[in-house]
Protein backbone atom coordinates (compact mmCIF):
# COMPACT_ATOMS: atom_id res chain seq x y z
CA UNK A 1 0.00 0.00 0.00
CA UNK A 2 1.47 3.34 -1.04
CA UNK A 3 -0.51 5.52 1.37
CA UNK A 4 -1.60 5.10 4.94
CA UNK A 5 -4.90 4.10 6.56
CA UNK A 6 -5.43 5.00 10.18
CA UNK A 7 -8.40 4.12 12.34
CA UNK A 8 -9.10 5.15 15.89
CA UNK A 9 -11.28 3.61 18.56
CA UNK A 10 -11.70 4.10 22.27
CA UNK A 11 -11.81 1.07 24.55
CA UNK A 12 -12.79 2.56 27.91
CA UNK A 13 -9.95 4.92 28.77
CA UNK A 14 -7.60 3.38 26.24
CA UNK A 15 -7.17 4.87 22.77
CA UNK A 16 -6.36 2.33 20.09
CA UNK A 17 -4.87 3.54 16.81
CA UNK A 18 -4.52 1.03 13.98
CA UNK A 19 -2.03 2.02 11.29
CA UNK A 20 -1.85 0.26 7.93
CA UNK A 21 0.47 1.01 5.00
CA UNK A 22 3.37 3.44 4.92
CA UNK A 23 4.17 6.36 7.18
CA UNK A 24 6.65 8.47 5.22
CA UNK A 25 7.27 12.21 4.87
CA UNK A 26 4.13 12.45 2.74
CA UNK A 27 1.69 10.61 5.01
CA UNK A 28 3.18 11.63 8.36
CA UNK A 29 0.78 14.59 8.58
CA UNK A 30 -2.22 12.22 8.75
CA UNK A 31 -0.46 10.05 11.29
CA UNK A 32 0.44 13.02 13.48
CA UNK A 33 -3.11 14.40 13.27
CA UNK A 34 -4.61 11.09 14.41
CA UNK A 35 -2.10 10.77 17.23
CA UNK A 36 -3.02 14.24 18.48
CA UNK A 37 -6.72 13.47 18.20
CA UNK A 38 -6.29 10.51 20.53
CA UNK A 39 -3.89 12.41 22.80
CA UNK A 40 -6.61 14.98 23.41
CA UNK A 41 -8.80 12.21 24.83
CA UNK A 42 -6.41 9.95 26.71
CA UNK A 43 -2.80 9.40 27.69
CA UNK A 44 -3.10 5.60 27.53
CA UNK A 45 -2.54 4.68 23.92
CA UNK A 46 -2.02 1.46 22.00
CA UNK A 47 -0.81 1.67 18.42
CA UNK A 48 -1.64 -1.46 16.45
CA UNK A 49 1.17 -1.63 13.91
CA UNK A 50 0.51 -5.14 12.61
CA UNK A 51 -0.35 -3.76 9.15
CA UNK A 52 2.34 -1.05 9.16
CA UNK A 53 4.54 -1.83 6.19
CA UNK A 54 7.01 1.02 6.34
CA UNK A 55 7.94 3.85 8.67
CA UNK A 56 10.43 6.60 7.83
CA UNK A 57 12.25 8.74 10.38
CA UNK A 58 9.55 11.40 9.85
CA UNK A 59 7.07 8.89 11.33
CA UNK A 60 9.40 8.11 14.19
CA UNK A 61 9.58 11.84 14.89
CA UNK A 62 5.80 12.13 15.17
CA UNK A 63 5.73 9.10 17.41
CA UNK A 64 8.42 10.50 19.68
CA UNK A 65 6.64 13.86 20.01
CA UNK A 66 3.46 12.09 21.13
CA UNK A 67 5.39 9.81 23.44
CA UNK A 68 6.85 12.88 25.10
CA UNK A 69 3.34 14.25 25.62
CA UNK A 70 1.88 11.08 27.15
CA UNK A 71 4.85 10.67 29.45
CA UNK A 72 4.32 14.22 30.78
CA UNK A 73 0.75 13.22 31.54
CA UNK A 74 1.83 10.02 33.29
CA UNK A 75 0.57 7.77 30.50
CA UNK A 76 2.16 5.50 27.95
CA UNK A 77 2.17 4.50 24.29
CA UNK A 78 2.52 0.77 23.60
CA UNK A 79 3.14 -0.59 20.14
CA UNK A 80 1.49 -3.91 19.26
CA UNK A 81 2.07 -6.52 16.56
CA UNK A 82 5.18 -5.00 14.98
CA UNK A 83 6.61 -6.83 11.96
CA UNK A 84 10.26 -7.90 11.93
CA UNK A 85 10.91 -5.35 9.19
CA UNK A 86 9.63 -2.38 11.21
CA UNK A 87 11.21 -3.78 14.40
CA UNK A 88 14.58 -3.67 12.69
CA UNK A 89 14.18 0.09 12.11
CA UNK A 90 13.24 0.60 15.77
CA UNK A 91 16.20 -1.50 16.91
CA UNK A 92 18.68 0.26 14.63
CA UNK A 93 17.53 3.74 15.64
CA UNK A 94 17.51 2.92 19.34
CA UNK A 95 13.73 3.29 19.74
CA UNK A 96 13.14 -0.26 20.96
CA UNK A 97 14.68 0.91 24.23
CA UNK A 98 12.20 3.78 24.50
CA UNK A 99 8.93 2.13 23.47
CA UNK A 100 7.29 -0.94 24.93
CA UNK A 101 6.64 -3.29 22.03
CA UNK A 102 4.36 -6.28 22.49
CA UNK A 103 2.94 -8.98 20.23
CA UNK A 104 -0.73 -8.05 20.21
CA UNK A 105 -3.36 -5.49 21.24
CA UNK A 106 -4.71 -7.69 24.10
CA UNK A 107 -1.17 -7.98 25.46
CA UNK A 108 -0.77 -4.21 25.22
CA UNK A 109 -4.05 -3.70 27.13
CA UNK A 110 -2.82 -5.74 30.05
CA UNK A 111 0.54 -3.93 29.98
CA UNK A 112 -1.03 -0.45 30.23
Amino acid sequence: MAGVEISIKMDGQIGIIAVAGSVDAHTVGDFDKKLKEVLAKTKSIIIDVAALEYIATAGLGALMASFNEVKKGGGNIILAGMSDKVKKVFDTMGFSKVFKIVGSVPEAKSAL
Binding site: A2, S22, G61
Partner: protein, 139 residues
Protein backbone atom coordinates in the same frame (compact mmCIF):
# COMPACT_ATOMS: atom_id res chain seq x y z
CA UNK B 1 17.63 2.73 -15.38
CA UNK B 2 16.59 6.21 -14.25
CA UNK B 3 13.43 7.60 -12.72
CA UNK B 4 12.98 11.37 -13.08
CA UNK B 5 10.24 12.55 -10.77
CA UNK B 6 8.88 15.69 -9.12
CA UNK B 7 10.71 16.64 -5.93
CA UNK B 8 7.64 16.44 -3.70
CA UNK B 9 6.74 14.06 -0.89
CA UNK B 10 3.95 12.60 -3.00
CA UNK B 11 6.71 11.01 -5.14
CA UNK B 12 8.24 9.04 -2.27
CA UNK B 13 6.12 5.89 -2.60
CA UNK B 14 6.85 5.76 -6.35
CA UNK B 15 10.60 6.18 -5.67
CA UNK B 16 10.58 3.32 -3.13
CA UNK B 17 8.62 1.13 -5.51
CA UNK B 18 11.05 1.86 -8.38
CA UNK B 19 14.15 1.02 -6.34
CA UNK B 20 12.60 -2.01 -4.64
CA UNK B 21 11.49 -3.51 -7.91
CA UNK B 22 15.06 -3.31 -9.26
CA UNK B 23 16.58 -4.57 -5.99
CA UNK B 24 14.26 -7.58 -5.98
CA UNK B 25 15.43 -8.49 -9.49
CA UNK B 26 19.02 -8.42 -8.19
CA UNK B 27 18.11 -11.07 -5.60
CA UNK B 28 18.37 -9.11 -2.34
CA UNK B 29 16.91 -10.71 0.80
CA UNK B 30 13.77 -9.21 2.38
CA UNK B 31 15.93 -7.89 5.17
CA UNK B 32 18.22 -6.00 2.81
CA UNK B 33 15.30 -4.82 0.67
CA UNK B 34 13.93 -3.04 3.74
CA UNK B 35 17.30 -1.38 4.33
CA UNK B 36 17.60 -0.18 0.72
CA UNK B 37 14.00 1.09 0.80
CA UNK B 38 14.63 3.21 3.87
CA UNK B 39 18.00 4.61 2.77
CA UNK B 40 16.64 5.77 -0.58
CA UNK B 41 13.44 7.16 0.93
CA UNK B 42 15.44 9.15 3.48
CA UNK B 43 17.88 10.45 0.84
CA UNK B 44 14.97 11.70 -1.29
CA UNK B 45 13.11 13.09 1.74
CA UNK B 46 16.19 15.05 2.75
CA UNK B 47 16.32 16.81 -0.61
CA UNK B 48 12.58 17.51 -0.68
CA UNK B 49 12.31 18.78 2.88
CA UNK B 50 15.64 20.47 3.45
CA UNK B 51 16.77 21.63 0.03
CA UNK B 52 13.76 22.20 -2.21
CA UNK B 53 11.32 23.26 0.53
CA UNK B 54 13.76 25.73 2.08
CA UNK B 55 15.16 27.31 -1.08
CA UNK B 56 12.69 29.49 -2.99
CA UNK B 57 15.37 30.39 -5.57
CA UNK B 58 15.34 26.97 -7.23
CA UNK B 59 13.25 27.23 -10.41
CA UNK B 60 10.18 24.99 -10.49
CA UNK B 61 11.43 22.95 -13.43
CA UNK B 62 14.55 22.06 -11.42
CA UNK B 63 12.62 20.77 -8.44
CA UNK B 64 12.99 17.21 -9.56
CA UNK B 65 14.82 14.13 -8.38
CA UNK B 66 16.64 11.62 -10.50
CA UNK B 67 16.94 8.12 -9.12
CA UNK B 68 19.33 5.92 -11.01
CA UNK B 69 19.73 2.21 -10.30
CA UNK B 70 22.27 -0.15 -11.74
CA UNK B 71 23.70 -3.57 -11.05
CA UNK B 72 27.30 -3.82 -9.88
CA UNK B 73 29.39 -6.84 -8.99
CA UNK B 74 27.56 -8.68 -6.18
CA UNK B 75 25.13 -5.87 -5.57
CA UNK B 76 23.53 -2.68 -6.77
CA UNK B 77 24.15 1.03 -6.87
CA UNK B 78 21.50 3.67 -6.44
CA UNK B 79 22.18 7.34 -7.07
CA UNK B 80 19.88 10.13 -5.91
CA UNK B 81 20.48 13.40 -7.77
CA UNK B 82 19.02 16.80 -7.04
CA UNK B 83 19.36 20.30 -8.44
CA UNK B 84 19.73 22.18 -5.16
CA UNK B 85 22.58 23.76 -3.24
CA UNK B 86 25.60 21.72 -2.17
CA UNK B 87 24.95 19.41 0.76
CA UNK B 88 27.16 16.50 1.67
CA UNK B 89 25.42 14.01 3.99
CA UNK B 90 28.53 11.83 4.03
CA UNK B 91 30.27 14.50 6.12
CA UNK B 92 27.47 14.71 8.70
CA UNK B 93 28.59 13.05 11.94
CA UNK B 94 26.52 10.12 13.19
CA UNK B 95 24.17 11.02 16.04
CA UNK B 96 24.66 9.62 19.51
CA UNK B 97 21.78 7.17 19.63
CA UNK B 98 21.76 6.92 23.40
CA UNK B 99 21.32 10.70 23.64
CA UNK B 100 18.66 10.66 20.92
CA UNK B 101 16.64 8.06 22.76
CA UNK B 102 16.71 9.98 26.02
CA UNK B 103 16.25 13.43 24.48
CA UNK B 104 13.33 12.08 22.42
CA UNK B 105 14.66 13.71 19.26
CA UNK B 106 14.81 12.26 15.78
CA UNK B 107 16.79 14.94 13.96
CA UNK B 108 19.66 13.47 11.95
CA UNK B 109 18.29 9.95 11.87
CA UNK B 110 17.53 10.08 8.14
CA UNK B 111 21.20 10.44 7.26
CA UNK B 112 22.07 7.91 9.94
CA UNK B 113 19.78 5.35 8.30
CA UNK B 114 21.43 5.94 4.91
CA UNK B 115 24.83 5.31 6.41
CA UNK B 116 23.98 2.24 8.46
CA UNK B 117 21.69 0.56 5.97
CA UNK B 118 23.91 0.92 2.91
CA UNK B 119 27.39 -0.56 2.53
CA UNK B 120 28.99 2.40 0.76
CA UNK B 121 28.02 6.01 0.34
CA UNK B 122 29.60 8.84 -1.63
CA UNK B 123 28.68 12.40 -2.53
CA UNK B 124 29.40 14.44 -5.63
CA UNK B 125 28.52 18.07 -6.24
CA UNK B 126 28.66 19.65 -9.64
CA UNK B 127 28.48 23.47 -9.34
CA UNK B 128 25.56 24.85 -11.28
CA UNK B 129 23.86 21.46 -11.39
CA UNK B 130 23.46 19.81 -8.02
CA UNK B 131 24.20 16.92 -5.70
CA UNK B 132 24.47 13.22 -6.35
CA UNK B 133 24.39 10.76 -3.48
CA UNK B 134 25.70 7.39 -4.58
CA UNK B 135 24.89 4.43 -2.36
CA UNK B 136 25.91 0.82 -2.87
CA UNK B 137 24.50 -2.30 -1.33
CA UNK B 138 25.95 -5.78 -1.64
CA UNK B 139 24.03 -9.03 -1.69
Amino acid sequence: MTLRIAGVTDSLSRIREFVLSFAKEQGFSDDKLGEIEMAVDEAATNVIRHSYAEDPEIPDNNRVLEIEVKGIEKGMEVAVSDFGKAFNPVGVPLPDLEKHATSLKTHGLGIFSMKVFMDEMAHEFVPGIGNKIIMRKFL
